[in-house]
């Protein structure tokens, strides 16, 4: 089970992910609503894994991912975006994302992906 930071600009999505991850026995150590906050909270909390929305105000998810990976190359980040933005997948993978979730998602598959990334 891991210590997870959830990054998404909508509270609804953060709450949904929190519920799903909590039901899988994970510890939600923090939340962030934009990329800049995500980078700051990562430095502060040093979570085992981050779920990162791609489209966010101020600093987007890809930029935040790059900043986190620059500071901690071993960081485990799963990107999360809406249907129709799958083109971002390659960019995210090239930038160091370990996994990718497309919204809308289903709880069992999210937990499976988190488990895979945490154990890798």
């Amino acid at each position: 089970m891991g210590r997870i930071l959830i990054v998404d600009d909508t509270m609804f999505m953060r709450t949904l992910l929190k519920n799903i991850l909590f039901s899988g026995g994970h510890d939600i150590v923090g939340e962030a609503a934009d990329g800049a906050e995500a980078v700051a909270r990562y430095q502060e909390l040093k979570p085992d894994l981050v779920t990162m929305d791609v489209v966010m105000p101020k600093v987007n998810g890809i930029e935040a991912l790059k900043a986190i990976k620059a500071a901690d190359p071993g960081a485990k980040v799963i990107m999360c975006t809406a249907v129709g933005q799958e083109q971002m997948v390659k960019l995210a993978i090239r930038s160091g994302a370990r996994g990718y979730i497309v919204k809308p998602f289903q709880a069992p598959k999210v937990l499976e992906e988190v488990k895979n990334v945490l154990s890798a």
Binding site: L16, E86, Q106, A107, P108, K109, V110, E113
Partner: protein, 272 residues
């Protein structure tokens, strides 16, 4: 007609499964006694498969139905002949299925070269390695979109569909003109499951949470809804055909007898 090799099968005959033989030829199949019939591929309009059975429908109105059970190897050959030779909208294409499962990208997903046949009740993909069927009634979305393939941004048809309640995405890649025809064809074939109206934001959020696998009490907590409010929203989702009841949970309170039992039980445990 070319010589056919006979293989043992079981066929459904008068409501019972009976042993028979089947020959698979170049242009037809022949089923021995008790059916004693030949079915040309071009008369076949539909193929459904589950576990070790296939159902073939033939005739202009799909009025002739044949249910055949056999080992996987035999059914695989039969399906290949039917899919590639039956009466259906068919094209050569690349496909990737599944590419996304439950919102998570399938890491080892790859493009397979093969053929696609759109039949009466389903879309079949067939390649050297795979035979995949997507029943049209399980299709939840059809979209003409673009995807980066070998450094090129190419048009693809994206099909979202259900497999045992899991939402799966598959992609089809073929020349653009054919792709548009395929898209229009699939769009029309799955028109029945489209909803033209719009849900209010709260009902939409509840639907999203159900999609994600949340149960009633999680939804009530997350959206700060009362049991009664959630029931009303569920009713709306049921009326629009967006959802179905899987089970009804009871909320109970203890009777005098139950309260007495609990009180006695607490007393006896505290006296020990």
């Amino acid at each position: 007609m070319a010589i056919m090799k006979s293989v043992p099968i079981k066929v459904e005959h008068e409501g019972k499964w009976v042993p028979a033989t089947m020959g698979i030829g170049e242009d037809r199949i022949r089923i021995g006694a008790p059916l004693d019939c030949e079915i040309p591929y071009r008369s076949m309009v539909d193929l459904e498969a589950k576990k070790n059975q296939v159902t073939i429908a033939a005739g202009p109105e799909a009025e002739e139905v044949y249910r055949i059970a056999s080992v996987e190897k035999v059914l695989s050959v039969l399906k290949k002949f039917v899919i590639t030779r039956c009466s259906a909208y068919r094209l050569n294409a690349f496909f990737m299925s599944p590419a996304i499962r439950g919102g998570v990208l399938v890491q080892d997903a790859h493009w397979e070269k093969g053929a696609i046949a759109v039949m009466k009740t389903g879309i079949w993909f067939i390649s050297q390695e795979n035979q995949v069927c997507i029943p049209l009634e399980d299709v939840t979305g059809i979209e003409l979109t673009r995807r980066e393939i070998q450094e090129k941004d190419l048009d693809v048809v994206k099909i979202d569909h259900l497999i045992e309640n899991e939402v799966v995405t598959s992609f089809i890649l073929c020349p653009k003109t054919t792709l548009q025809v395929l898209y229009n064809f699939l769009n029309e074939a799955t028109q029945g499951s489209r909803y033209e109206g719009e849900l209010d934001p709260l009902t939409g959020q509840v639907a999203m949470l159900v999609y994600s696998g949340m149960d009633s009490s999680s939804i009530e907590n997350m959206l700060k809804l009362s049991h009664k409010d959630l029931d009303a929203i569920y009713e709306q989702l049921l009326t629009t055909g967006f959802a179905e009841v899987i089970y009804i949970r009871k909320e109970i309170q203890l009777t005098t007898k139950g309260v007495r039992y609990i009180s006695d039980a607490v007393k006896s445990s505290s006296n020990q």
